[in-house]
Symmetry: C2
Subunit: 722 residues, 2 copies
């Protein structure tokens, strides 16, 4: 592994000063600038140690792509959430051998199972600030499209150079909407195996009912192992591969945590919107979330009706439904929190304060101009067609349409030299495209897809003609008088005739020529060919607008950063799937006047919730252990039980799932896996009174491993301290 540190990246705002308690998803290199806050909160190690991505402890923190994880042994043992490994457990399950139900434990390396296709372990090895490389190619006068293309071109070139070394994956990430750019290099381990997962009756205890909820009693953890070739380099799955030996892994503290303890979470939070303008906030909460939520309800309804409980189809859509329900609850909470709070007023006040400050500071006014007004004008333009776009959303999710579109696009892009192809269709993307093509059948059912497609195209067809897609309408014979019966017959025929439902057929299309596509009589391929030009034109328009945002959003952010700097406040960037550190303390909160959420749940709470019916159906042996008060060495004397889940003030979001939670000495004390209902709006607004993350305690993990599942082999492999 090439050792490269997060070296020269200058921090954005280094003035240590009053900031909101525990708010912030900090880039590791920013941590020394908030040392006082970290120390006040209880951090015992030097924050400088947290800035070195390839040293301890950051070297042990890895990405799964969408989830975070960490190495817990010298043999590449990876701890993450049960819900992050869910797809792999499901992938290895059959009706006869349902690992979701029974759980799974490999007692030896040889028993470990290949994870779901596409599973990856990404080890970040290098972060390079490349802002200037990109900015040098841009001018203020550029059109949106030129800007978009210029940024894309440099990014591709940086990525190509970086990926010259085999086994690595590189990406350019923009911070503050494009004010700064970083090139991040990650080793991409692609032989990932499932080592251990408790039964879903533990790993998903409480299910959707308890999702986002406290009190919580979920053993949301599972273990993977990273494998590499005998040469130590990433390799495709092979029996000859050997466990990856990370340079660093975390020590596990078997005590878990105590009330008020310092905790920090390192991980890859996906996306936040903490710096959106008041116009964007208003639109999102007052129009987009409520409207989109209605569409989502319908989407869920159609799946549930066409994949009845207990059917094979329902098993295939379990993961999809979980995601949809999650979003539905998520948006519902945000709408509720928005109604109760004053987010909009505060954003409006921030903007008014910013304007007032600019007026008081001619130099700053000179530097930042009317950046907010310009951004807001672009936002207004961008949102103009949002109602139309939302009407098209449902049909755009169709798997066969999407598959055919992507395959045809790949053929078109493949006509160009690799470096000139659009991102996502380069040589580097081929493996992932193929894996995605393989994944489809396990999560797809013709009846469900047809029902969804028919419903959502009917919605689309209700749009005025000028807002519809001419080539699509022509291909599908859609006129202003939408004839649902005829259309549905056509869809039935297309589904019956297409061969894209066959995995081999799909894979065979990779590498075919544009001519091959044009000559195909597969109806979905024909549809893709017929609509390509019009869709691509729309894509270009979107890129033009995206290029404009790449200019205006950073300008506004630069003003915001200067404004905060004038108040001595450091600024963290919105989450963007790059490695961040958030810190805080183990602490309860008041979800409601007259109620207090205490920071721990215990084994007894599992028993109290147990009904024997899903999602509260604890394994019998776990209940027996609880009844016998067999806490063993994991007993928390303050709680007189074993701690199961705990709350903290750390600032997290989706993507942080599976993140290791570390104590003041950077020992592993659990896994982050959720936030409380009241903190969902945290993606837009951190509220120190209500923002709480939910963790599964290392004490419960070890207790389940030792007493419930007899996974002593894994405990022996880890370094456990107290």
């Amino acid at each position: 592994m090439k050792k490269l540190m997060l070296a020269a990246a200058a921090s954005l705002a280094t003035v240590a000063s009053p900031l909101m308690a525990d708010e912030g998803m900090w880039q590791p290199d920013q941590l020394p600038s908030i040392e006082k806050h970290l120390k006040d909160a209880g951090l015992k190690i030097d924050p400088d140690n947290l800035t070195k991505l390839t040293e301890f402890p950051m070297g042990a923190v890895i990405s799964l792509g969408g989830c975070t994880a960490s190495f817990l042994s010298p043999k590449g043992l990876v701890a993450t959430n049960h819900h992050c490994a869910y797809g792999s457990i499901q992938f290895n399950s059959t009706a006869e051998n349902n690992l979701l139900e029974k759980g799974f434990l490999a007692k030896e390396f040889s028993e470990e199972l290949a994870a779901a296709p596409g599973s990856r372990v990404y080890v970040t090895t290098e972060v390079t600030k490349v802002t200037n490389s990109i900015k040098d190619e841009l001018t203020d006068e550029m059109s949106g499209m030129s800007r978009y293309k210029a940024v894309e071109k440099i990014e591709k070139s940086l990525v190509a150079d970086c990926e010259a070394e085999e086994g690595y994956r590189c990406n350019v990430y923009s911070f503050h909407g494009g004010l700064e750019y970083y090139l991040i290099k990650q080793m991409e381990i692609r032989d990932v195996r499932l080592v251990y997962a408790p039964s879903s009756h533990i790993g998903k205890y409480g299910g959707d009912v308890d999702n986002w909820m406290w009190p919580r009693h979920t053993g949301d953890f599972a273990f993977y192992r990273a494998y590499v070739g005998k040469d130590g380099k990433p390799a495709d799955f092979s029996k000859d591969n050997v466990p990856y030996e990370p340079e660093h892994f975390l020590t596990v503290n078997a005590n878990g945590v105590a009330k008020d303890d310092f905790v920090m979470v390192t991980g890859y939070p996906g996306r936040t919107n903490r710096y959106r303008t008041s116009a964007e906030v208003k639109n999102q909460f007052e129009w987009r979330y409520p409207t989109f939520r209605t569409i989502l309800h319908k989407y869920i309804d159609i799946i549930e009706q066409n994949a009845p409980e207990g059917s094979d189809a329902r098993v295939k859509y379990a993961s999809t439904l979980a995601g949809l329900n999650n979003a539905e609850k998520n948006w519902g909470s945000m709408i509720e929190s928005y109604g109760k709070g004053n987010l909009l007023e505060r954003r409006q006040k921030l903007e008014a304060d910013l304007e007032a400050w600019l007026l008081d500071n001619p130099a700053m006014k000179e530097k930042h101009g009317d950046s907010l007004a310009e951004l807001d004008a672009l936002i207004k333009e961008d949102l103009k067609d949002q109602a139309i776009e939302l009407k098209k959303w449902g049909m755009s999710r169709d798997t066969l349409t999407g598959t055919a579109d992507r395959l045809y696009r790949l053929a078109i892009e493949s006509q160009k030299p690799d470096a000139e192809r659009d991102p996502g269709y380069q040589e580097r993307d081929l493996i992932r495209i193929k894996e995605s093509l393989k994944r489809m059948n396990r999560r797809w059912d013709a009846e469900v897809e047809k029902a969804l497609y028919k419903h959502f195209v009917a919605q689309y067809a209700s749009l005025p003609k000028e807002d519809r897609v001419v080539s699509y309408d022509k291909f599908m014979d859609i006129s202003n008088e939408f004839n649902a019966t005829e259309f549905n017959d056509k869809v039935d025929n297309m589904f019956a005739e297409t061969e894209l439902t066959d995995q081999e057929v799909r894979l065979n299309w990779v590498g075919k020529s544009v001519e091959d596509f044009k000559n195909s009589d597969d109806p979905f391929i024909q549809l893709a060919v017929a609509t390509y030009d019009e869709n691509y034109k729309k894509e270009l328009e979107d890129k033009e607008q995206s290029g404009e945002f790449k200019k205006l959003r950073p300008q506004y952010m630069a003003a915001i950063i200067d404004f905060y700097k004038s108040q001595g406040k450091p600024v963290y960037a919105d989450a963007n799937s790059t490695l961040r550190v958030t810190y805080g303390n183990v602490k309860g909160y008041s979800p409601q006047d007259g109620l207090s959420a205490t920071p721990f749940t215990t084994l007894e709470g599992i028993k109290a919730k147990h009904t024997g019916e899903e999602p509260f159906n604890s394994p019998i042996n776990q209940l027996a252990l609880i009844n016998a008060k067999q806490y063993g060495e994991y007993k928390d004397s303050a709680l007189n039980s074993v701690q199961v889940n705990f709350l903290s003030t750390v600032d997290t979001t989706g993507g942080n799932s599976g993140s290791p939670t570390m104590n003041a000495n950077a020992e592993f004390v659990g896994l982050l896996f959720d936030g409380v209902y009241e903190s969902i709006i945290g993606d837009w607004d951190y509220n120190p009174q209500l923002n709480r993350s939910i963790h599964v305690s290392s004490a419960y993990m070890l207790w389940v491993m030792k007493y419930v599942d007899n996974a002593q082999n894994l405990i022996n492999e880890m370094k456990v301290v107290r």
Copy 2:
């Protein structure tokens, strides 16, 4: 007012010793025996002062019959719960002038409104132990019926002597199932007027949704005034009557309470079952509550279907439905708590321990014999027919049937000299019988009653012939093949023909002769005459069994009391609607692992719950005051708001509603109005971890009075301290 103290009544168990924290509904004269506990909890006054029923503060505590209340001014101002005054507010409401909706405030005495017919204020003036008077007439050899009759005869005679003084109501209450008897004399004030009630949007805020729930934000208070004749004696309503001037009234502390404060509640708890045998517990929780609850569901359904939301009929059944829903939730909670806890095991252990103790103590064994076994045998016999009785329950609730039965019974009893009549049909009962006859029309709707009657008779008709009532079947033409259509036609005809739906007609039947009834062609009168003999025979059988219980239950309780005495534990009697004192502290609890109920709610919680839809529809002016943080002199600095409701550990049950909550100096600090969901099983079992009562704080009462409703005239009338 004749001053007689609760003098010679000896306490049952005076050994001060470890008892369950805050458990117990103590007779006032028992308080000196638990002085140490009271002082430890924080009581500042001498417990001896609490034993004198006609002195301060007990002299200020009164009964409304079913609810408790207290005098808060020298002019007879009475504070009780909104839900205790609900019937009177409803009685004075019309569609055009809905006092439930608007609230009501009399700014002058002359504006005060007559309370609902039958409203009473009972001031306890004398408590006399009469155990020996009764026991002297009983022998061990008596049959159940002889015993029943003997007790009834002495009770009637004691009552008659006591009520020789006009304006008083006397009753004999048995304690410990008949181990002790007390004659209680109460002045019966029958001119009761409604003075003030906040809007139901405050007084019933949260409605059925929040019923039994915490967090709670209900302003459950209202004010009556007691009026007497100019001679100071109880009198019927008259404009010439004057406010009653009680010798004692409570001082109001405007601060409410603080966390951990000592509080005590004095009131008239109705009924508890803390000493029932394990056989009774098992039957009640495993058969009777679950079975009865199903019947109740049906009962509620039928009313809701036949009295649709918004109909006049629904208004008439509002109070009935509230009661039924309350019972439904109540039983549901008890079934749930029973399932989670180990009540049955503990009762079984108590009985085993008692038996072991008796075996170890020959003298005690000699004294108490096989009292438990004998009682259990009787219980078994008593429960034999319970499934049949429950099938008959629904039809037995029919108002017209019940009215006709009662009127005919009155005619029959009136043939005897007053002293020989059955209790409930003596001269002393006439006023209440008439008031009940008047009340009917406001709570009765023919369509609802017919639907209920038809459903429940069909249930009854499904019983085997030998379990049915021969005379009823004959009158109603019910054969083994129940013909619902024919039966329903008959019921429709009876409802159409009866004149008992007319208030004047009902009242005219009072005083008519048995012959008059026999000659009547009113179908419900005819039914009453036809079934009287058979029903009366059943009643006698019940009395025989009741007489047996009067022998065996006291024997078992005597054993229990001796057993507890041997452990130094004082024993309080099960609640029996007599005046009791319970004490405890202001304290939260944990309703669930990971959650803590904090002991206070605040004004802000009202706003947070407000949706604008019932039952969370706060008056706008209250919301405006909350938004403006206009706490005034009622601000609690620890809460930085006004306290609304609070939790305490006091041991209460139905009948305690409206009880004054007093602090360590016996100042009024609020009104008890509910218990939390987890404490409903408290009627059978006090759990110090979960038993919490809910009070409305005096601070919130005064804040609403002053700022929301401008009831300064009433505040001025009270003695308010801090």
